[in-house]
């Protein structure tokens, strides 16, 4: 019965979304506030019904109701509660439900918290959001319905894939989806503004919190996925340029560009046309990423030519939304008025530079990811575009961006002084030079470029600190005055500095791991030792540790520092599921400050030796630490009170805050 309630709730949500997609627009056309205001309760009700639907599906999973086909196919009552819950989105139908839930959640958030939005913009944006929701609700009901039933419920569900049973998968797909779908609001706001035909500097401020929120979630989602791949797949890589990863990277790049161009639009009224285009592109890339790349729709259209309903449906949705949005854009954009002037060397110029390189880098990822799919769909040839392609294209395009990054915040608006900015960065440059020199002095036999990479990372981190120091007049005025300035500084300035610092931290981790990480592969017999970096591992032997539905073949290793000091034990294992004839690698990690020793086992050889893979990953934790710092930067920026300005109610609060600062 719960499944049927969910099914019906989804249908009601579809009906509501149809009403929501028409009435508010009729309202704005006729300047009728009542019709416009219909957007808010319908958006809330739509979310409520989709939420009921999603919770119903989740309940079926948690209670293992195998009369629901989707549950039967993807769950098993023997799984722990957490995995029964995460398997809701571990399959196509369920992940579509999560997608639509988040989509309508964002609609509801705009309805509730978008109090500062002009009523017409809000009504139109909610209507556009409802178009998207209606399309996907229809898609779910027509081709990917998770509520189909089985008349005689089987005893037990089918799928219990051990690889997918990992706490990491509880956390990272929802965050990725929050990021992907978060851009839908920005898309809706852009389309709403184009429909209205009036786009001003204020639009950027209205859109900014939503861009920031989506960007933050996406950042965390990507980092989470990367860490999951790192520890779960057993070979210690953190980024594979896999299509699934690229699918999340593309909207992130476009979103980052959007975040920056929106600043120019808000401050100077310039780059309006471009910002609106980026808003459309960011969500389009999310759609393409989720549906073309991830779900393999393009190849499945090719493979199941006899009945490609699902693929055709998705393609139709993509063509409608992306094509329609771009057509509307092409029609309306030339009507927009130009914004303020600026010199090439200026804050605006720096942000344009940022946008050019970010979007070009995004374009190379796009081509590298979609070219194989397109080629296969057209000619049937299968090619793989691997890391070498991306290293040769993405790398060179990202490099100038990183070098220029510390300069941007130090340039003035309209007309900047590059020389002055360079002088202020002198301290950072000196630090970087020291790091390069130090790198060369300490490095024996590593890649020549590595010290430069470290230097760049130091330059970026120090540059972010210099920016803060400049703004607070660090050491130039008494500490008390400095504190006052620091507190008075807009939160978004803090946020930007944090995010840039985070980029430097991540870069440092990537450079260190790629250049100085080491790898040892050997077959060890009990008693054998293996050395890596300044560690020595002794293989004490293997033992079997039974688990609930698997047994672990655990290898026990004792870790010493090269000097002989005992550091602890590592216990990697091979987990075999006897009835399923499946094995997974459970790597062991030993964290020493920001470094990690990574150890995984292979299948034992006939002669009794065990193959081991041992990695030393210097500073590897900085890769994800940087992402967390970026997330914190985003959160600081989001808390900037200016983003809430425009709401009629908090006007009094704003007036109170001014003297306080």
């Amino acid at each position: 019965m719960i499944a049927e309630l969910g099914h019906y709730a989804l249908m009601l949500a579809l009906g509501l979304s149809l009403i929501q997609s028409v009435m508010p627009i009729v309202g704005t056309r006729n300047n009728d506030a009542v019709l416009m205001s219909m957007a808010v309760p319908t958006a809330l009700a739509q979310f409520a019904f989709v939420a009921i639907s999603f919770l119903a599906l989740a309940t079926c999973y948690v209670t293992s109701d195998f009369s629901v086909l989707n549950v039967y196919e993807n769950s098993n009552s023997a799984m722990p509660l957490l995995y029964r819950l995460t398997s809701v989105w571990g399959n196509h139908e369920g992940s579509m439900m999560l997608w639509v839930s988040i989509l309508t959640l964002f609609g509801a958030l705009v309805a509730v918290f978008g109090v500062n939005l002009p009523i017409k913009l809000k009504a139109n944006a909610l209507a556009v959001q409802a178009w998207i929701a209606a399309a996907f609700e229809l898609f779910i009901l027509a081709t990917s319905n998770p509520f189909l039933r089985i008349a005689n419920a089987p005893f037990e569900g089918r799928d219990l894939n051990p690889v997918l049973q990992d706490p990491g998968l509880a956390f990272h797909p929802p965050f990725l989806y929050l990021g992907y779908v978060g851009f839908s609001i920005v898309f809706s706001l852009a389309i709403a503004a184009l429909l209205e035909g009036r786009i001003d500097a204020a639009w950027a401020r209205f859109a900014r919190p939503w861009v920031l929120g989506a960007w933050m979630c996406l950042t965390l989602g990507i980092a989470g996925g990367s860490y999951w791949a790192y520890y779960e797949l057993g070979w210690g890589g953190f980024w594979f340029w896999d299509p699934v990863e690229n699918a999340s990277l593309m909207p992130w790049l476009a979103g980052t560009a959007l975040l920056h161009s929106a600043v120019v639009m808000e401050k100077r009224g310039a780059l309006k046309v471009w910002t609106i285009l980026l808003a459309i592109v960011a969500f389009s890339l999310s759609l393409i990423g989720t549906f073309l790349v991830r779900s393999g729709v393009l190849t499945s259209v090719h493979a199941f030519a006899n009945d490609p309903t699902r693929g055709i449906f998705i393609l139709a949705i993509l063509v409608c939304f992306i094509g329609g949005a771009l057509a509307l854009y092409a029609w309306r954009a030339p009507l927009l008025k130009q914004g303020g002037l600026f010199a090439p060397i200026s804050r605006e110029g720096a942000l344009v530079f940022n946008n050019l390189f970010l979007t070009s880098a995004c374009a190379t990822v796009f081509v590298g990811t979609l070219y194989p799919l397109a080629l296969e769909a057209l000619t049937g040839d299968k090619i793989s575009v691997g890391p070498p392609f991306f290293n040769l294209t993405f790398g060179p395009l990202f490099l100038p961006l990183l070098v220029a990054m510390p300069f941007g915040p130090l340039l003035g608006w309209k007309r900047g002084d590059l020389l002055a900015a360079a002088q202020r960065l002198l301290a950072a440059a000196v630090l970087a030079a020291l790091a390069i020199a130090g790198g060369f002095a300490l490095q024996h036999g590593g890649p020549v470029l590595a010290p430069f990479g470290v230097g760049l990372a130091i330059f970026i981190m120090a540059g972010a600190l210099v920016d803060l120091a400049e703004r607070t007049m660090f050491l130039r005025i008494p500490p008390a005055a400095m504190m006052r300035r620091a507190i008075g500084l807009p939160r978004s300035a803090w946020g930007a500095a944090f995010a840039h610092f985070g980029i430097g931290v991540t870069l440092m981790g990537i450079v260190a791991v790629t250049a100085w990480g080491s790898e040892r592969i050997a077959a060890l017999k009990p008693g054998g030792t293996i050395d890596i970096a300044h560690f020595r591992l002794t293989f004490d032997g293997t033992f079997v540790r039974p688990g609930p539905n698997y047994s672990d073949l655990v290898g026990r290793f004792t870790v010493f520092r090269a000097g002989g000091e005992l550091l602890g034990a590592m216990e990697p294992s091979r987990r075999t599921f006897p009835a399923r004839n499946m094995a997974t690698t459970e790597a062991a990690l030993m964290t020493r400050r920001l470094n990690q020793v990574y150890l995984s086992l292979g299948d034992p050889n006939p002669d009794g030796s065990v193959p081991v893979r041992l990695y030393f990953k210097p500073l590897v934790l900085m890769i994800w630490l940087g992402a967390v710092i970026m997330f914190i930067g985003g959160a600081l920026s989001l808390s900037d009170r200016r983003l809430r300005i425009g709401a009629p109610r908090p006007a009094k609060a704003a007036a109170l805050q001014v003297p306080a600062e």
């Binding site: 499945s300 009945d307 344009v352 590298g368 090619i383």
Partner: protein, 158 residues
């Protein structure tokens, strides 16, 4: 600087960066594209020794031999042809006889494929799922499912 000059600078810069991006991509495409081949393709296309390719198929049952120093040999088959593969290193988790595998590397002069990377599908849920989807849509899964499932289960028994 006038409005027109500003726009020209912007457009010029944009085109410049885009041109660099295109040049980088064309260069990378020339050097780093790897074609995917099945053992049948290998026979039909006469791939030259030393050319990097990806070889995909099933690990033929009964051909996996583990030697010393983690040397492994096995045959990859697509049902009609087979290719011998040599690899040194630790095999991935889902590598099993009878299962799908993708090996990246090149042929030596003797027709032996020297792989330096072995990939087993780590997202194995996707493939069977699509087959199941195709079936689901062609059959009547809503109510007919139970009968269909019961057919093999409850088929002629004695």
């Amino acid at each position: 600087m006038t409005r027109k000059q500003r726009r020209l600078t912007l457009i010029g810069g944009g085109i410049g960066v885009l041109a660099i991006a295109v040049a980088l991509m064309l260069n990378a495409f020339r050097d780093s594209i790897v074609f995917f081949n099945s053992p049948t393709d290998v026979v039909e296309k006469h791939i030259a020794p030393g050319t990097r390719i990806r070889l995909g198929g099933l690990v033929k049952t009964g051909t996996l031999v583990r030697g010393d120093h983690m040397n492994v040999r096995f045959d990859v088959t697509d049902g009609s042809h087979e290719t011998k593969v040599a690899y040194q290193g630790v095999l991935p988790d889902l590598f099993r006889e009878g299962q799908g595998v993708v090996a990246e590397g090149a042929f030596d002069g003797t027709g032996l494929f020297n792989a330096d990377t072995i990939l087993a599908k780590h997202d194995e849920t996707y493939m069977p799922k699509e087959v199941a989807d195709a079936l689901k849509k062609s059959g009547h899964w809503k109510d007919g499912y139970a009968q269909r499932a019961a057919m093999p289960v409850g088929g002629p028994n004695k």
